[in-house]
Symmetry: C2
Subunit: 286 residues, 2 copies
């Protein structure tokens, strides 16, 4: 496989396109606002005027867009992927997306002779940039094997999780963990500040022990620097947590910590903070 059609060049997508080009792939791109893609166009990505144009000659199509409604649009519209992709090509949705929608794309795509995988990622902006993403893949195992080299250009920990939707379900589990972990770290920081501890020293002390986590090591220091820039947008995290909650509730389960954290983030979004990074949850306590 040589030609990749890539749709959605946001924070994550741009770095992924760069890494695909470094690995030798020809990458055509489409995203909603061309201006925002100019840096990677200058680096060699080929601009296409529509989704249809972007996918029609591609051996593999990769999408990483914002919300399930965006996924619906790029896949199922008249000018969308399923109507325009080359028969036999590989279609990989790397958006964190509804597991149900992943299954629907798989079913409809399969009918049209396409090989469909759901392959959401984790590792954030830094992982995308360094090509060290974790990629969680659902679909047919054969298709996973064919696309393994493509995944290797973008990630390091690449795992076949099972049937269509299993990549998304694994990502949901990942987001459930992050929801509680990050908020817990923030609560400890709020506590430490209010009781008069040196917050950074507290973090340095506990991070090597059983309280240690990547959120504490990587995300929390941004809070100390008053850096609320989005490595990962609150609005996207709310979408993910909402999907996870919905899947759980349908099965009669209440993930109470997840639901609490989701409520807290929704409060922040109502306060106009949806465009901040997830670490801004600390502002909930102010």
């Amino acid at each position: 496989m040589k030609n990749i059609g890539f749709i959605g060049t946001g924070i994550m997508g741009k770095s992924m396109v760069e890494n695909l080009m470094k690995a030798g792939y020809c990458v055509s791109i489409f995203t909603r606002t061309k201006e925002k893609a100019e840096d990677i166009i200058n680096k060699g990505a080929i601009w296409k005027e529509s989704v249809a144009e972007c996918v029609k000659d591609a051996d593999a199509v990769i999408t990483i867009v914002g919300f399930p409604k965006d996924v619906e649009e790029v896949y199922f519209g008249e000018k969308g992927i399923l109507a325009n992709a080359k028969k036999g090509s590989y279609i990989i949705d790397m958006t964190t997306n509804s597991p149900k929608l992943a299954e629907k794309i798989y079913q409809e795509g399969t009918k049209k002779g396409l090989h469909v995988l759901d392959a959401p990622v984790t590792g954030g902006d830094i992982g995308a940039k360094n090509g060290t993403l974790t990629i969680m893949v659902g679909g047919e195992e054969e298709d996973f094997k064919v696309c393994y080299e493509i995944f290797q250009a973008m990630g390091e920990n690449i795992v076949y999780e099972g049937n269509a939707g299993s990549g998304q379900h694994t990502k949901m589990a990942n987001q459930i963990v992050i929801a509680g972990t990050l908020t817990a770290v923030c609560e400890a920081m709020v506590y430490a500040k209010n009781v008069g501890l040196d917050v950074k020293q507290m973090m340095d002390t506990i991070k090597t022990g059983v309280a240690g986590s990547k959120q504490l090591e990587v995300v929390a220091p941004r809070i100390l620097d008053n850096n609320f820039e989005p490595g990962f947008f609150i609005k996207h995290f709310i979408k993910d947590m909402g999907l996870a909650k919905e899947e759980a509730v349908e099965r009669g389960i209440h993930l109470e910590v997840l639901e609490k954290v989701l409520d807290m983030y929704q409060t922040l979004e109502e306060d106009g903070k949806g465009e901040l990074g997830t670490q801004a949850i600390i502002q909930y306590y102010k």
Copy 2:
């Protein structure tokens, strides 16, 4: 310093006594139930019949008992530490204890010419056994320096946090982090099982990414093995979270995730599960 009086030889205390003896200290011990200490008595710890006997000749006294009321008792009773310790000796409470009580011991102890430190630990049963505990110390910095060698026998990450009570406050922050992190990991496991993922594979996939934590790596596998033995008792965790909540609420702060997790654990304790390990929080979802 050579002679240590050690009070409280539970899961943690026993391993700490062993490590002190390995480092060359003479350790006298007292604990509520002598039978439970017989293994370390056989290894060379000297049994004393009372707190007073245990501390009267000690250069340094270490306590690690269950609850603040136990701390009150061993410190402030007529036969307690403050009334019987040798003038000029070092008094180190390693129980996870109320910061307020730590300050009180410091104040009363100082009046009697004792050097008082609060020095709670983290690292669990494994850290205690391997001598790799994190030790968070509050009190006078001079006293911390004098006791550094003693701490080195039991731990690796040994940090002076500030005034009396600061060790306890740092430990509170640590427990706040663990509360949310462990529960989040459990919720992801519950989710994964219910949507039909391979739970262990999900954990292996996400643990190297931004969802990674010590709780996920070290504690969660016990759940997969259906091992609910106490590395750390639920009843003690409830005590710690209660202390943290109280300190926060006094300062007008609601740590909502902490409060939610505390409620969940209290439900388990009401169901008679206070003697299980903290990982048994997964049973809340059954």
